[in-house]
């Protein structure tokens, strides 16, 4: 199965002159209503479950709302409270940022390393590709989160292994300095998904390029820096944006490892966990809506920055990315 996109046909014909009056157009091409029939479910969902809720949650973010009484307008108070008077909010921001900054690069580096390893494996590549990918399907489940909690608990396998190699380690789960790292490792464990994407990208790099580089005297490291990285940069960029967005929203593992309440000492109170606590446990829906919009803005700004910087490091070999 080819992984190359063939977008050209879809674009062909778009550059023709403005459409002639409806009646004179050839049949089959001109009627627009069938398209809207096909799109009805999607348009309904986009309007009722996406656009309208976005607007409503923006409105709610300026109100005091507990789901039962009508929302009470409070202006910017949710935002100012959050930013100036809520240490738990800042704690959750700190934990989440720390997690994103550590987990995303670690996961992507491991994914890239594994993809390069598999590329050179030849025999057995398909087997390892599938096997390395499996954790990505299981990692989001509550079962695995519970396993993680047990493995990193006091007396769990991890502390046993660390003690055996001479490091005095207790349980990470109960340690405010280490609990978030257990969540990081659970994320990194799922490196298979970006690895599969990296591998598909690596397989598309023409061997000619490596040959030419080798003829010019480039060693393995130089080939990696001057051929692999630039050719793979669109895929690296894609994975980076995707993983960043997903990581900001981590919930299940944080919920399980923290015992459901962000503990110990709020050290695993990830942003979405705090949002859930504020909105659904404490019934401060307005506050939670403000947190959600702040999350959207932060993710939007970071994505924008990544897109901006991408111009200087992401290399597209030609229009269709072939």
């Amino acid at each position: 199965m080819s992984t190359v996109s063939t977008r050209a046909p879809a674009r062909a014909g778009r550059t023709t002159k403005p459409d002639p009056p409806a009646k004179r157009r050839r049949r089959g091409r001109e009627r627009q209503w069938p398209a809207y029939v096909f799109l009805t479910p999607w348009m309904l969902g986009a309007a009722v479950l996406t656009l309208m809720p976005m607007a409503v949650s923006l409105y709610l973010s300026f109100t005091d709302y507990n789901l039962f009484d009508p929302p009470k307008w409070v202006g910017l108070r949710n935002y100012t409270d959050m930013l100036t008077e809520d240490p738990r909010f800042w704690r959750s921001v700190g934990t989440t940022l720390k997690y994103v900054v550590v987990a995303v690069p670690l996961k992507l580096l491991l994914a890239l390393g594994a993809a390069m390893l598999l590329k050179n494996l030849g025999h057995g590549r398909a087997f390892y590709r599938s096997a390395f990918y499996a954790p990505s399907l299981l990692g989001a489940s509550m079962s695995i989160a519970l396993v993680w909690r047990a493995l990193f608990n006091d007396g769990g396998s991890v502390s046993h292994v660390l003690n055996a190699v001479g490091i005095d380690a207790g349980g990470w789960v109960g340690d405010p300095d280490l609990a978030w790292l257990a969540v990081v490792l659970l994320t990194v464990w799922q490196f298979g998904a970006p690895m599969v994407i990296f591998l598909a990208g690596l397989m598309q790099i023409s061997p000619d390029l490596y040959e030419a580089a080798a003829l010019d005297g480039a060693g393995r490291w130089r080939q990696f820096a001057s051929v692999t990285v630039p050719m793979l940069s669109p895929v690296i960029f894609f994975n980076l944006v995707l993983e960043m967005i997903q990581s900001f929203q981590v919930f299940t593992p944080a919920f399980a490892i923290s015992g459901g309440d962000g503990g110990p000492a709020d050290s695993t109170m990830f942003y979405t966990l705090y949002l859930y606590e504020r909105g659904f446990t404490a019934s401060h829906m307005g506050y939670a809506a403000a947190m959600a919009w702040l999350l959207l803005i932060v993710i939007g700004v970071i994505t924008l920055i990544l897109f901006r910087t991408s111009r200087s490091w992401v290399f597209y070999s030609d229009e269709e990315g072939r």
């Binding site: 977008r7 046909p9 096909f38 799109l39 789901l67 050179n120 909105g279 959600a292 999350l295």
Partner: protein, 278 residues
């Protein structure tokens, strides 16, 4: 490096990596079969004897709701989500990939943008809507959105697949007098089977693993899914319940593991193409 090392080193790294990666799964399976007193005392993965009673205890479920019921509930939700996604996403995808209409570019751009939208921004208003409709504590909030193609990822996946299909068949169908609906049903849909299968499997697995939405919308224990039942173990720190708890965990990941073995080609391929075509 001599030739032999060069050949064997990657394989060795791959094997070691695989063992590390699979350890948590092996541990899960082992612990689900261990007698209570061995869980903490022994690092040995192999239990001294197989404690099958962990599984019979697990089958009792939680709060008087048995595991078969919990599994059935989860299948109901995941099955509904699969049907919804396959139908609604393929309909929208066909319009985006093959039909021309006003605002198509704007709508497509919007659809791609929602790929990146954090779910939390729409969470509370959606909750209010479902609450108004009296659908909280039913499965509708988990299934209904799927019938409205809210999972943009799959619309995108199917669009990309359909755009890669040869146009000749559809052209000749049109010449033979097929309208867009016939063409969609008789030509494009059957040809898009791989993308639809990928959509179905991913939807099933993601609904099966979902926790957040279920946590928010479901309250009555008899409506619980297997994930919500497992949640009850989260704040429990005593290791004495490990056996039954992880037996239930094994039961809950078993369908995903089976799906993985049967459909791994579609899963890996779907993952690879979604990334490259982005």
């Amino acid at each position: 490096m001599n030739l032999a090392t060069r050949r064997w080193l990657p394989h060795t790294i791959a094997v070691v990596g695989l063992l590390v990666l699979l350890y948590p799964l092996a541990w899960l399976l082992a612990t689900s079969l261990k007698p209570a007193d061995e869980v903490v005392t022994s690092l040995d993965l192999w239990p001294s004897r197989l404690e099958w009673s962990n599984y019979t205890t697990a089958m009792d479920g939680v709060s008087g709701v048995g595991v078969t019921r919990l599994l059935w509930n989860t299948v109901l939700i995941a099955g509904g989500a699969v049907i919804g996604n396959v139908v609604s996403c393929s309909l929208a995808a066909y319009a985006f990939a093959r039909l021309r209409f006003r605002m198509s570019k704007v709508m497509f751009a919007f659809m791609v943008a929602t790929l990146m939208l954090p779910h939390h921004v729409v969470l509370i208003p959606q909750y209010i809507i479902f609450n108004q409709l009296g659908m909280v504590d039913t499965y509708w909030p988990l299934i209904l959105p799927k019938f409205l193609a809210t999972d943009a990822f799959f619309v995108f996946l199917i669009v990309q697949f359909m755009r890669g299909l040869p146009r000749e068949l559809e052209e000749s169908a049109r010449i033979d007098g097929c309208g867009p609906f016939r063409t969609y049903w008789a030509i494009t849909l059957p040809l898009s089977r791989p993308a639809l299968i990928t959509t179905a499997i991913f939807t099933f697995i993601w609904s099966w693993n979902d926790f957040f939405t279920q946590l928010i919308y479901l309250f009555a224990p008899e409506k619980f899914t297997i994930t919500l039942a497992l949640r009850g173990f989260v704040d429990q720190s005593s290791t004495s319940a490990y056996g039954p708890m992880f037996a239930m965990s094994v039961i809950s990941v078993l369908p995903i593991v089976l799906f993985f073995f049967v459909f791994q080609r579609y899963l890996v391929q779907g993952m690879a193409t979604s990334g490259l075509k982005g």
